[in-house]
Amino acid sequence: MDGVHDLGGVNGFGAVELESNEPVFHEDWEPIGYALIFVGAADLNAFTIDELRHAIERMEPRHYLTSTYYERIVTGVAALFVEKGYVTHEELERRAGGRFPLARPVTPGEPAREPSISFAPGETVQVRKDHFRGHSRMPKYVRGKRGVVLHQAPRFPYASAAGHGIEAKHEPTYHVKFDAKDLWSDAAENSTVVVDLWESYLEKV
């Protein structure tokens, strides 16, 4: 999904503000969303972490970009509890005493590629060129780009399926190194970017 959450390389943002002696949480409600991820994903088996990421990406773009991090977590978790039928949107708004924006509708997921194609460390690979509107862990800045595999990581459920709650084949992910200049002609000198990509996002060169 080419959404506003896919921020790598977007121009226009200003300085990064460091905070000294930063607390783990700044406000008392902030742990709620994180803890409820575990209630939903581990205790109730109501959704996966991939679905949570996707729910956050499905936030209305203006809401996404003006929300705080923990607000996005609460929004994503709440959206899933509503979509899975545990609570209603009306109840949430009544209890909150105001609007409680959730996420836009889910679109179909994408099963992993069959048959699988494996890649070896040192091999040059190309990231898929095509577009998929659902959940994806392939940042758009590498779409169609070539890089070199540094490492093969263990198998994990394919994100573009898992993010939609459909059956997700487990497949390896690869740490793929790109020259930053191949991604952006004005990128930093002597800089590389490593992206961790599921097998189905990659093609043989």
């Binding site: 896919d6 921020l7 790598g8 390389g9 121009n11 943002f13 200003g14 990064v16 503000e17 460091l18 930063e22 949480f25 700044h26 742990p31 709620i32 969303g33 994180y34 409820l36 209630v39 109730l44 956050i56 990406e57 209305e60 203006r62 970009l65 705080t68 991090y69 607000e71 609460v74 509890f81 545990y86 609570v87 949430l92 708004e93 209890r95 909150a96 005493g97 105001g98 609007r99 409680f100 862990r137 392939m138 940042p139 800045y141 490492h151 990581a153 263990p154 994990f156 992910t173 740490h175 190194k177 930053a180 990128a187 930093a188 000198e189 002597n190 800089s191 590389t192 992206v195 961790d196």
Partner: protein
């Protein structure tokens, strides 16, 4: 959503929304007793950069551990008691005099919780997420880390399930230091790669 169709009902505050969700699930008995308080306690006390600092200091002083860390960081960290959510598969990024690693998650804000702690606000900011992959060198300089042009900056984007920590080069002037004293040089920012371990001038 057009310019002149603004919603009439006001937005509930962030806190009110979070608490409404909690209350709604609580009423249905979906949240085990003390679950959120226990989670906050673990996040504030057990997941901390001191864990990663311990891992780094041990790798600097114990060659066999370093080898195990590079081969399988997950089990090397588990040896020291560090494991848990967002630490299911971890990898160490080994800096050298000509290679510096820095971690980001451009798509959300994934981090190795058990050894780094929860990510700081700056790591989760749109500023960091958008800029570090494209302008690593100048952004790190703005953040106080001015690396020579001869050092390759390798930005690692946490886009799948691997969670990373940076293993920096052991600084000169720390010969003979204890593991504990070495660990004191390693902050969360060093483990992410936006700072280097600094040996105090008075050490």
């Amino acid at each position: 959503m057009s310019d002149h169709h603004e919603p009439q009902v006001p937005l509930a505050s962030r806190a009110a929304r979070a608490k409404a969700l909690r209350a709604a699930l609580d009423e249905k008995n979906l949240i085990p007793k003390d679950y959120i308080e226990n989670f906050a306690h673990v996040a504030e006390n057990d997941w901390k950069p001191q864990n990663g600092a311990h891992v780094v200091a041990k790798a600097w002083t114990d060659p066999a551990f370093r080898e195990r860390l590079l081969k399988d960081a997950t089990s090397a960290c588990a040896e020291l008691g560090y494991h848990g959510p967002q630490g299911e598969y971890m990898a160490a990024l080994v800096d050298t005099p000509t290679l510096h690693h820095v971690i980001v998650c451009t798509l959300c804000s994934c981090t190795a919780w058990p050894i780094l702690g929860l990510p700081p606000d700056w790591y989760k900011s749109f500023e960091y997420r958008s800029r570090v992959v494209r302008e690593s060198r100048s952004l790190l300089r703005e953040m106080g880390l001015d690396l020579p042009e001869s050092v390759e900056i390798r930005v690692v984007d946490t886009t799948a399930e691997t969670r990373f920590l940076v293993l920096p080069v052991r600084p000169a002037g720390t010969e003979g230091w204890s593991e504990e004293k070495l660990a004191s040089l390693i902050s969360k920012n060093v483990l992410i790669g936006v700072a280097l371990p600094q040996v105090p001038a008075t050490a």
